[in-house]
């Protein structure tokens, strides 16, 4: 993690020295602090991701679960040129999941993530200058996730502690599409769409927690797969 931070700081410092006043930013403002709220709702499907809960609750056959997720992220951004900006940030998220078919505990995953991002602005294609206008963001976030059950199943003998209780640490990659609008030359507001996915090679599977981890990973895949977001940043 330390190495990672050193790299980020070095990139930032080099960029800063290189660009100085030549980079317009927005009216000369190249730094910004942003806060982002992401939310998604959808169906996580397929029998595969239910292997754990199937075994636990005795469900049979394929079924679907409704997921809903929301998370809050904060980031620091720096405009490198007319086309690029970089930054780093943290993200705290919650993912809830409930079966639409069977009675089951309402499980939640709590996730904390931190990482770096790169924003690409289509200056050549659309004429807009970073940090304005539409952008594509690539995020690499190292994610720590912990699962816990938050409520018992009413009228069921399923024990309160029978839900997922695993932990997971692995990188996630996000691709976000947003459009930055400026308010009063001070704030930017950006609605957008976030697509995310874990890198399978990093799923820390071993004999003891395979089921738990596999399940959490698949849930995260579903929950962080497609989200809408609204981001606000203060230009510095």
């Amino acid at each position: 993690m330390k190495k990672f931070l050193v790299v980020v700081l070095l990139v930032f410092a080099c960029g800063h020295v290189h660009s100085q006043t030549r980079v317009p930013g927005y009216l000369g403002k190249r730094h910004s602090l942003s806060i982002q709220y992401l939310s998604g709702i959808g169906l996580a499907g397929g029998p595969e991701n239910l292997s754990y809960r199937k075994g636990l609750y005795g469900w049979g056959g394929g079924t679907r679960e409704l997921y809903f997720t929301h998370s809050v992220a904060g980031a620091y951004n720096y405009v490198l040129s007319k086309r690029y900006s970089i930054g780093f940030g943290v993200r705290q998220g919650w993912l809830g999941m409930r079966s639409l078919v069977f009675p089951s505990p309402f499980d939640r995953l709590k996730t904390t993530a931190a990482g770096i991002h790169l924003d690409m602005f289509p200056f050549l294609r659309r004429g807009t200058i970073a940090p304005l206008g539409p952008y594509t963001r690539f995020k690499f976030y190292w994610t720590y996730s912990r699962s816990f059950q938050v409520e018992p199943v009413a009228g069921s003998d399923i024990p309160e502690t029978a839900g997922l209780t695993g932990k997971l640490m692995m990188p996630f990659v996000f691709m976000e599409f947003g459009n930055n609008f400026v308010i009063s030359d001070l704030l930017t507001l950006s609605p957008g769409l976030s697509l995310g996915g874990g890198i399978p090679a990093f799923v820390p599977l071993d004999d003891t927690n395979t089921i738990q981890v596999e399940n959490m990973w698949l849930r995260l895949q579903s929950g962080w797969g497609v989200n809408l977001f609204l981001e606000m940043a203060i230009l510095l």
Partner: protein, 713 residues
């Protein structure tokens, strides 16, 4: 009473008597106070006129007349402030004196009409619905007497009195609405519209003659003035021209550079006018003749006069117009016309530096275009030319590239000796010398040897060079040009340097420019909005109000980077700001000239010397052309998708409906920083912004532009 009126008007004459030394001619410029009405915004004028004209009209009629007033006010506003229209100049004043006399019994009409002279070589005059009569210098340069000017004015006054422009528009809109016209019968629409227009012209002729006959002018001049229109495509005189007019010393052209027979003048009067807005000349003349005869005025009558305000005054004004025409032809890149015009005028004023300079600039233009193999883009085929000037067109076509280069250089060289203080002529000489090295390298060894074989094909060229070499300073100038060329050549041939240049260019493109400027002047920034979903498209009112905001943004953004920026705005001028008005007009012309300068030709602008005073006046040599053309249009798929939706072929989704409604926004942003010293652009930005022109989008673009201007290299 008649005598009293004449006496009264003759008192006004001193006001319109201007001295002009034609040997040291000074081109016409606007002077005095700028009319307050011109400085009012077009939207303000539109609102006033809409209220006046709309009274008592139905809603539909009001809508049509508003459309007309909107379009006409904004177009006229742009034209009036373009510099084409001269303000308080001798020609305009003279025209207004004639106007006042013609409308002496119609004081209300007289007060509501204002006549202006227009800097245009076209033989034309027109009138607007709000009483502005615009007479082109091209017409005034060709009329025979004052009475003919009066005849033209009477015709134009009738257009105003009868509100012809508005009526024509209303009729045109009505025709568009007719079912037959609506579904593609465009030809029928054009024919009907032009028929209506021709009827209006004949009415203006008839009623104009009635007004004209109330004056003391000779009646049949109303008939003769049609000759001006008939021969409008010809120079004002038809005097033999020979290439010998350029000949001197060794510069002698062979006999086959002249045509043996010339095409006769064949100005048709009776042509098909179905597709024209004006009846043919024969029809108009015929109607005037019938009317005069009906009035019992015999063709041989000696009734009336051709001059009320004096023949000298008329001749002076006409001569001014003719001098202006030479310059206007040059501005239009009609170089051969300009040379012939100066040729005609030099007979009377052989020492005119103004005319000689125009000849020099025209030869320079012709040589540059011929060297660049673009001669035919500015040249009229000699076979299409009638009269004596055909000889000149043939000569220019016949000359080889190197010969024309040499002729231009020779002319410019001797003119430079006559006008040593004129830097523009010096620049032309230098450029033509470098151009000769650049384009006619094969002759250089022989020119250097200086040995001439009498019968060789190069003898003509070499003889001229041999003579020029005898001139003091020529050899030095020639050697300097050779040095410039050698540096150019080395830079082109050196591959390393080429890649280095390319690398620098790419770096510049990536990182942006850094001009290190402290002050710039923005010359009338442009802001136009178009909605392509609507007919016509121009959003006049929105453009005007946004334009004011945009100028404010320029100042704000420049202030943010610490760049001193002066924004020249026409509508912000005070009535006493005529000097700044002239500055703007000149700068616009200079920028335009440089902008249209063919990239690979790099010509010296015809305004280069004229603009130099602005450097001191504004404290900078950097002038900026900046603007935004904002557009809204329907997305390409919207029509098809709507049709499919309506016939139930596709099921609407919220996003789909939103995409159907949402138009496509875009803007074209441009920013050019021109250097007054070099006449070249220091920085060029042209960007298509695929986003709505919100404030922050514009500010972002402007900020980047001013930042590049301010940044130190």
């Amino acid at each position: 009473m008649g005598r009293f009126i004449l006496l009264f008007w003759s008192f006004l004459l001193p006001l319109v008597s201007w001295s002009q030394d034609f040997d040291h001619y000074q081109p016409l410029r606007s002077s005095g106070d700028i009319p307050v009405n011109l400085l009012k915004s077009a939207s303000e004028k539109f609102a006033i006129e809409s209220e006046e004209i709309g009274e008592g009209k139905s809603r539909k009629e009001q809508k049509v007349s508003d459309k007309f007033l909107l379009e006409s006010n904004f177009s006229l506003d742009a034209f009036m402030l373009s510099g084409k229209v001269l303000l308080n100049d001798p020609v305009g004043e003279y025209l207004n004196v004639i106007k006042n006399y013609l409308l002496r019994d119609l004081p209300e009409v007289r007060d509501s009409i204002k006549v202006y002279a227009v800097r245009s070589p076209q033989v034309n005059a027109f009138c607007t619905n709000n009483g502005i009569v615009l007479v082109h210098l091209g017409l005034l340069a060709k009329v025979k007497n004052e009475a003919q000017i009066a005849a033209v004015l009477c015709h134009e006054f009738q257009h105003y009195i009868r509100q012809h422009p508005l009526n024509r528009f209303v009729e045109s809109e009505r025709l568009k609405g007719e079912s037959g016209m609506r579904f593609g019968n465009y030809e029928a629409y054009v024919l009907a519209r032009n028929r209506f227009s021709r009827e209006q012209e004949l009415e203006a002729d008839t009623k104009g003659l009635e007004l004209y006959l109330e004056s003391a002018y000779s009646p049949w001049e109303q008939y003769d003035v049609f000759d001006v229109m008939r021969y409008s495509y010809l120079p004002y005189d038809n005097i033999p021209w020979s290439c010998n007019s350029f000949a001197h010393g060794a510069l002698q052209f062979p006999g086959d550079y002249s045509l043996d027979t010339l095409q006769e003048i064949n100005a048709e009067e009776e042509y098909d006018d179905d597709l024209l807005s004006h009846p043919n000349i024969a029809t108009r003349r015929g109607a005037i003749k019938d009317q005069l005869e009906a009035e019992g005025i015999d063709e041989k009558t000696e009734e009336g006069t051709t001059f009320i305000f004096g023949e000298d005054q008329f001749n002076r004004i006409r001569k001014i117009c003719r001098f202006e025409m030479a310059r206007l032809y040059l501005e239009d890149k009609s170089y051969e016309r300009a040379i012939y015009q100066t040729y005609l005028l030099l007979r009377e004023n052989p020492e005119s530096g103004y005319l000689k300079k125009i000849t020099c600039q025209s030869l320079y233009g012709l040589a540059k275009f011929k060297n660049a193999r673009k001669f035919y883009s500015i040249h009229t085929d000699y076979e299409d030319v009638e009269g004596e000037s055909q000889q000149l067109y043939y000569f220019m076509e016949r000359l080889e590239k190197e010969e024309l280069n040499l002729l231009a250089m020779d002319y410019a060289w001797y003119l430079k000796q006559e006008q040593p203080e004129d830097k523009e002529i010096a620049n032309i000489v230098n450029d033509l010398m470098v151009e000769f090295h650049r384009k006619h390298e094969e002759y250089l060894p022989e020119i250097a040897d200086g040995e001439v074989e009498p019968d060789s094909s190069e003898a003509f060229l070499l003889n001229v060079f041999a003579e020029l070499k005898e001139e003091e300073g020529f050899v030095d100038a020639w050697e300097k040009a050779e040095e410039v060329w050698k540096v150019e050549l080395a830079s082109m041939e050196n591959e390393e340097e080429y890649w280095e240049r390319r690398k620098r260019l790419l770096k510049k493109r990536r990182r942006g420019e850094a001009l290190g400027l402290d002050k710039v002047v923005f010359v009338t920034p442009i802001y136009k909005k178009y909605d392509q979903r609507r007919k016509g498209g121009a959003e006049y009112l929105a453009s005007e109000s946004r334009s004011t905001e945009y100028n404010g943004m320029i100042r704000e953004m420049a202030g943010r980077v610490g760049l001193e920026a002066e924004v020249l705005e026409l509508h912000k001028l005070e009535p006493s700001g005529i000097d700044q008005f002239n500055d703007i007009v000149l700068l616009q012309a200079w920028i335009g000239d440089n902008l249209w300068n063919e990239e690979d030709m790099n010509m010296v602008s015809i305004y280069q010397e004229e603009v130099q005073y602005l450097k001191e006046k504004y404290g900078t040599e950097f002038f900026v052309l900046n603007g935004v053309l904002s557009m809204i249009k329907q997305r390409s798929f919207q029509k098809t998708a709507t049709a499919l939706l309506l016939i139930g072929y596709v099921i609407p989704s919220p996003l789909g409906v939103y995409m159907l409604i949402k138009p496509e926004y875009g803007a074209y942003y441009f920013n050019l920083v021109m250097n007054l010293d070099t006449g070249t652009s220091e920085m060029e930005e042209f960007r298509i912004i695929r986003q709505k022109d919100r404030d922050f989008v514009l500010k972002s673009q402007l900020y980047y532009s001013v930042l590049q201007m301010k940044n130190t290299p």
